[in-house]
Symmetry: C2
Subunit: 213 residues, 2 copies
Amino acid sequence: MTTPAPQDLGLLEALHSTPARRYLSTEPIADDVIRAVLDAAVRGPSGGNSQAWAWIVVRDPEVKKQIAGWYREGWERHYGSRREQILNAPDDGPMSKRTFLAADHLANHIEQAPVWIVPVLLGAAKSGNPRLGSSIYGAVQQLMLAARAYGLGSTLTTLHIGHEEEVRDLLGLPADALTMAIVPLGYPSRGRWAQPRRRPLEEVVFFDRYEER
Amino acid sequence: MTTPAPQDLGLLEALHSTPARRYLSTEPIADDVIRAVLDAAVRGPSGGNSQAWAWIVVRDPEVKKQIAGWYREGWERHYGSRREQILNAPDDGPMSKRTFLAADHLANHIEQAPVWIVPVLLGAAKSGNPRLGSSIYGAVQQLMLAARAYGLGSTLTTLHIGHEEEVRDLLGLPADALTMAIVPLGYPSRGRWAQPRRRPLEEVVFFDRYEER
């Protein structure tokens, strides 16, 4: 397999056109590409540069299959059970019908993505610190942006965490480790690189003091 | 003031050359640039696209001065009190002497940065969810990368949180809001855009199963 060269992609263009991609093909990803996106990831922030992290590259079909079952449970519990309600509502909530259907597709096919990255914080299993993620989610964002440069889609998901202990055991993680996400990676099979829809800045940006709007 | 145009910067180059910048000048930042970096920030991930966030642009010198005092307390408690120990140790720990001195400089000059961005999660004040940050730190990383495109340095800091309540009051935030960081923004006055030093991938990347190394 030859390693695809990265696209010559501008930074600002990438920041504005890297939505969650949830329709992913089964096409394999070259090892060099996986390595390149991880090498970009670890340049992200780590509090005190402690880098108490591990990045698990999951490719084993059996491991993916088992976790996928738990992931679907999480999906069903959080969103799937509201299927009719979401699909019959006016399309103005935070999760659009299109996004719901894409996330539903992902839940039912996540094991088909050729590679998952599981970012892990060591020594964090008992943490109740709501800012814990400041030491890894910036790096995860770097991972997803670097993947974009290689034409790979991804999304940050956490629906496996109802089975955190089983996932930890399956991946051989130490008891003090906390899985912070599952990031499925794959070449997109549907959809496009486009600006994620967000509330206008006027609603979320404040100068010096917050005000109810 | 004319608004500086962004640099034509490649994505991968940016991901590999955007370290924390802690020596920042007092030079003002044009409103259009602040708006541009926030517009890139909000394209980052938000769980279920709920966007329960607020982005506070802090420019008021009095507000910065007050928070800076609390920030210095946090710095002193966590690192500053180990000044002699860190500066006299062999330079092989996670925080190099150079990084220590830069962070010490920032603690003593943070109010001079012309703009701080305070990313806030609403409804999160009582959260003990260690993965809470998955809905904002990716966006913060987008902010810091977009700032880079405009020649602005930044760093993600959380040393103010010993005074979370006072900061919340000062910024007029609702009682259920949680400040997730302070990101000082400014044109760098010292140092350079260079690849952050990190452990080699061989130490932190694992295929399918974690192993003690």
